[in-house]
Symmetry: C2
Subunit: 809 residues, 2 copies
């Protein structure tokens, strides 16, 4: 980023080595398809940057590498619609990499969702040309995208040839270490030029047999008038293009408009995707009209999703507004009204790159809370993604000998476990067993999100039909992995992995009660299980009697089992050490302290300590180190009131001053190997250390925009961290919490903020929330919804539509 404004990310020079990062940060899309790329529309050879990912569209592939079979489900790049290039007379096709660039400017306009670029270049004959382009993926019409390019012949006259193509020969080549894997995902069904003017390409995914059709028109205009061009057709396997030439005089300009319509066989309300794409392109408006309706739609979306704040002079982070908007913008590239009706989840790396192969992890626990308060229908549709995969999760539980439903750590098209069993350490070049699928806590994350959605909306229909069934299945599963330790008179969960992926086994010198190599009594997993079981009992009470009975019958859930849930939720084991430190897992205190300084000196960046240690023949399993401190997740998800209630239920002593001690303990032992780590830590510091919270928040903001993990942003943004930073503003600094049908506010602005303003959607109301250091003001906009309850400092106030409440801090 060269510079920025409140709404724009601007690059004013072209560095080839920053290309991947810039592309990822400037991705345009609508959750339906993302369009990567910066200057690449002006290169014909941009096969390495195919640029478009079809949400929720995967191929399942087996590849053999060095005698090992790697089975992966890989999300699919779509045919590239961006190829649009020019050349002057017999000169070369324009390329950013070979042309003599006089000036370069690229701007991602977040407010209107437009990517603009302007390049002035000179060729070896001294001809100077300016190429500007504007690109959009339409925010109101989910199947339409458009690109406009303007060429100015500054000091020459000559013939300009235009090449416009649809390219289905794309592969997955965005992540270097995956390149040996099978990466050819498309086969071409049709590639042709229709009516001598429109490009048409229809491809099919090689294994999952999903069809994708693209139709595109390319039109030329001069001085606003259409320019007739004799197009020549170029056809190769999986590639179709038009080429035509026009004469230009010195100082003249032409503009080229390319409009795309895209449909897949997974779309609803269609007959055949090729036919739909052709119909849509025949109906599509011109670029300027598309830009207008697109900008209006973005404007509306920003009214729903923006947040406004005033920073303290001298203490603020001046670009915070921009980065938060960038984060919201990217969240909306992945999950938006356009994905509501698609069977898709929220991939950990967005639709921005191939890392993690598009899989769905637990990141929704960081993503959904923000969406819930803005457009809960998006969350509902993402929860439906989980509901559709409930039978597969039930089968997984059954096959593992458990009850209920065991959602997998990584999920793809069918909902089966997609975690790799091996992964490559680029540091050592070795393939390492990957045990990350022992992270059962993903189930608790789903349950947490169901509850949050229900709390925000009061959507009883969702709960009755879908939510409760998932929730109870998850509760059933968590109860079934708990075992009773009669010596301690406590329930335990043995043999799992917590969110901290540095610990997947006990070191040799520590005995383990469990037969399989994992850790026991992970505090996060255990306490989340307690929360889930307790809440499950509440959900059983919420459901109408007959619905409850039907669900229990369907789940084969007997009263004795529900009684056990009650018991487990009162007698789960949480291990402590050092007088009040919650042990990350049992025997954590017997691990060695890690020599942080030594390693920092030796390696500089030690965020990925796991790789460093493995390369040294050592393992993080031996040390008190965390990639992300999963004990701290508890303070992230629960207020101190809620945590106190949980520990009280379990009969453990818990007082408020244990929180700062635990935070301090684990902060010192964390490498921040996950982008989520800083979000969590900023959150947990918010109450105790306003200055520290703001500092960590500022660092978390840098995750992607500065690519602080050294190149991983180019492989896809970190969606959880992006959403998490936004949620820090929305829920943490405002202290918003939903308890017993009450929306509680308890704001504490961090040191850098002076005023904060948000609009939330809650139980049919639109609420304007304004927070300063002195007061919090809640205003309910006019509407017909029933009054709601607002909680402030232990008192509950009723708030009806059109009313305003002001509370002094």
């Amino acid at each position: 980023m060269t510079h920025w404004s409140e709404w724009s990310l601007i690059y004013e020079s072209f560095h080839p080595e920053q290309e991947k990062l810039r592309e990822s940060l400037c991705t345009l899309g609508n959750g339906y398809f993302a369009t990567r790329g910066t200057g690449h529309e002006a290169r014909v050879d941009n096969i390495h940057y195919p640029g478009t990912y079809l949400a929720g569209c995967y191929n399942r592939l087996r590849t053999e590498i060095a005698g090992r079979v790697v089975e992966n489900e890989d999300f699919v790049n779509m045919p590239n619609w961006l190829p649009l290039n020019v050349r002057i007379d017999d000169g070369p096709w324009f390329s950013l990499h070979t042309a003599d660039i006089v000036s370069y400017r690229q701007e991602l306009d977040l407010k209107r969702g437009v990517l603009m670029r302007s390049v002035r270049f000179r060729d070896d004959q001294g001809r100077q040309t300016t190429l500007t382009s504007r690109r959009l993926v339409h925010r109101r019409e989910p199947h339409v995208a458009a690109l406009e390019m303007t060429l100015i012949a500054e000091n020459w006259s000559g013939c300009v040839t235009i090449h416009s193509a649809l390219d289905g020969r794309v592969t997955n080549a965005g992540v270097e270490r995956y390149r040996n894997l099978n990466n050819q995902h498309l086969e071409c069904l049709e590639a042709e030029v229709l009516d001598q003017k429109s490009l048409f390409l229809k491809v099919q995914t090689t294994q999952s047999k999903i069809s994708v059709a693209e139709a595109a028109t390319t039109r030329l205009f001069q001085m606003g008038q259409p320019l007739k061009v004799d197009w020549r057709t170029i056809q190769e396997t999986g590639y179709v293009a038009l080429e035509g030439a026009v004469d230009l005089k010195k100082g003249e300009s032409i503009s080229i408009e390319k409009v795309l319509a895209l449909y897949s066989s997974r779309d609803h309300a269609i007959s055949e995707c090729g036919l739909e794409a052709q119909t849509a392109i025949s109906r599509a408006a011109r670029f300027s009209a598309l830009l207008r309706s697109h900008s209006e739609a973005w404007n509306q979306l920003w009214q729903r999703f923006d947040m406004d704040f005033e920073e303290e002079p001298h203490k603020g982070n001046r670009k915070a507004s921009l980065v938060l908007r960038l984060h919201i913008f990217h969240l909306l590239q992945v999950c938006s009204p356009h994905t509501m009706d698609l069977d898709v989840g929220a991939p950990a790396r967005g639709l921005h790159g191939e890392a993690y192969r598009g899989h769905i992890f637990w990141d929704e626990i960081f993503i959904f809370p923000f969406l819930n308060f803005r457009m809960p229908e998006i969350t509902r549709s993402l929860l439906m993604y989980r509901f559709r995969r409930l039978p597969e999760a039930q089968r997984a539980a059954q096959e593992a000998g458990y009850q209920g439903a065991m959602y997998p750590w990584q999920s793809g098209s069918t909902g089966r476990e997609e975690s790799q069993t091996l992964h490559l350490n680029p540091q050592s070049g070795r393939w390492i067993p990957d045990n990350s699928h022992w992270q059962r806590h993903v189930n608790a994350a789903i349950a947490y999100d169901i509850w949050q959605y229900y709390q925000v909306t009061g959507d009883m229909e969702f709960l009755c039909f879908y939510g409760a069934e998932m929730f109870l299945n998850i509760a059933h599963f968590l109860a079934s992995i708990a075992t009773f330790n009669s010596d301690l008179n406590r329930y335990e969960i043995l043999g799992v992995m917590g969110p901290d992926e540095y610990h997947d086994a006990y070191p040799d010198n520590l005995g383990s009660a469990c037969s399989h190599p994992a850790i026991n009594n992970n505090a996060y997993t255990n306490l989340m299980a307690v929360w889930v079981l307790w809440r499950a009992l509440e959900i059983l009470e919420l459901l109408p009697d007959d619905w409850r009975q039907h669900l229990c019958d369907k789940l084969d859930l007997r009263q004795e089992e529900i009684d056990v849930w009650e018991k487990i939720s009162r007698n789960m084991r949480i291990v402590f050490h050092d007088d009040g430190i919650i042990s990350q897992f049992e025997d954590y205190n017997r691990l060695q302290e890690f020599q942080w300084e030594t390693y920092r000196e030796r390696y500089g960046d030690i965020q990925r300590l796991d790789r460093i240690l493995e390369a040294e023949g050592d393992s993080p399993n031996r040390y008190k180190v965390s990639k992300q401190a999963d004990v701290l997740m508890l303070f992230y998800l629960f207020s101190s009131e809620e945590l106190s209630a949980l520990f009280k239920r379990l009969g453990y002593v818990f007082d408020d001053n244990m929180i700062p001690r635990n935070i301090d303990y684990y902060m010192k032992r964390t490498s921040h190997g996950s982008t989520l780590s800083r979000v969590v830590q900023s959150w947990v510091l918010a109450r105790a250390n306003r200055q520290g919270a703001w500092k960590l928040f500022a660092e978390a903001l840098e995750s992607d925009i500065s690519d602080i993990q050294g190149g991983t942003t180019g492989e896809g943004i970190h969606l959880g961290a992006m959403a998490g930073t936004v949620d820090l503003i929305q829920r943490c600094f405002t202290g918003i919490e939903m308890r017993d049908d009450v929306l509680c506010v308890n704001p504490l602005l961090p040191e850098g903020l002076r005023r904060l303003q948000l609009r939330l959607h809650y139980r049919g109301h639109s609420l304007d929330l304004e927070i300063t250091c002195r007061a919090v003001i809640v205003r309910a906009l006019p509407c017909g919804a029933k009054p709601i309850k607002i909680g402030f400092k232990g008192h509950v106030h009723e708030l009806a539509a059109c009313e305003t409440k002001e509370f002094n801090l």
Copy 2:
């Protein structure tokens, strides 16, 4: 039907001429796919009865007949999985049509959703055999179906050859008059035997390119033990079968279990449909286990959907219980939890036959109210079917020069107008122009259903995200087709068709104010437009301020236009004649009276007067005749209180005693050419004429079970009429109405009923409603939902969970 029990439809003889009717009435399915056919599993040559329709799966086809191009969208039969047949030694394959049938019994068990058949037959060598079969389409596992056949060698020993197939060579041949149309909808992609034991067939629809995969296992058992069979493979284009032989001794029996897994490329949470079908079949349980879980699922469903009543001795209709259950059963074949996640509507003729080619009409106005109070999530999903087709409806309005959204009269896969422009009168053999697409009232039906769904659930999320957008678009459209008549100072709607399809133009002797041949100021259309516009104003108030503003921006709806809605809703023209008779349309009173008796004598059944008159060179347009009296629809949809309010708003005199006069007037002028007609008339008589209401109700019950329209049931059941009869019990005889967040009850049992008991779902509650001639009792089951309001005789009572209210009548 030979005889029946409360839960079973039983045929005890085999009449080839009743085959189509019996098939339609015994269809098994789950909304996902319906399985027609009775004895046809035991015929290899059953290509004419392919038996399965894939919900929402259409091909768009053009056919030329006698120089006319007929363009139609036709729903698609799926590959037939039923072929399972036997032969003894070198004898012929068993066929019901050629065998010497000793006894025959067929039973559709509604309670468990099982079709059972038992045939004893004798061959020309005197060998007597009993074949029994049980068949199900699984109610819990939407992709699984199963068939079990048992063969008993009563008086012979010999070799039995079993033939089991999947047949993709099916065509659409169920409606005779469509046979000249293109009816080949499938092309075969793969047909093979996997692992020498499982049949696998994958086909693709010819035009819409939807793939459907079926995998089936066939296993033999004797005395419960698996029997090894050497299967021989038979493969033809689009057909794959296994054949194997076993020796049987006299008196022995074998059972054959065929289990099917079916997936289509439109399914969610899948990779590739063929792979999913193969995985599912490898996981499928045996028939007995499938039957058990299937029956449990049906049992639960019945607890949600059943209704219980006690009839007056001597006055009741003894088989009413059975027929109502049959209706509910068939409704659940078409719309059920299994369709909730599919992009499908409720076809007018169910998934039971090819009439109307699977299209969606306005029948949902009869169907949704029943579903709303039982499982509103089904209604929600059916409304989403409409929401997905909103852009197409907007385009249709735009192209016709109107605003908002104009939903088509007939809808298929894309939501464009699918009404034929020509139809064949079988009576005259002539192709007649078909103007039925002028029925704009389908839009009001959708709006009505949105409002009803919202009233039942209070689902503000649905309203904000989808419902209001559809509703306001429809209001916008209806306002845009209204024109202002300055002479009368009233708004009018000119040039439409009402629900009564007998009138699509004015006869020559009557001038028309409108340029296009249709009728003006149809009372039903006009009053529904008033209702929609009035309610639209209410919805605008319900929405949070910012959401309202966004919707108005998106719809380009200005305050001036909303002000016009207000005006139209107060000044719409309704035409009256004969002092208080609502004219079906303007100038209705100038039409000739029809010679009912003459025609009844001449033709006997005159339900389809339109065909009779056209064949005579005449037209119903000349007469005061109705296929269904659409004025009466107003009394069906609205209580007298609501109607009074509507007329009062319009400044027309309306008093309660106008209702019986109008009913009487139109009852005399109706041919009941639509199955919906009797439902409506029974409903409107319920208050005024308890005896007449019961008689018409009893007649409406016969619509399908006795095929009173002479053969049309075999072409598909009449889903609207089926749902309507059920809703008569549920809403009409109970007097249930939702007004201003109050659930009003105002029961009046018809003469035949003594007691009525229902369980309703309303705003998160399960309510048990019991009605006798003396009292109505409402009991709210335990749950966590907020108290609701119950209205009775003008008083509003609060009802909380666990409470009971009793009102004396």
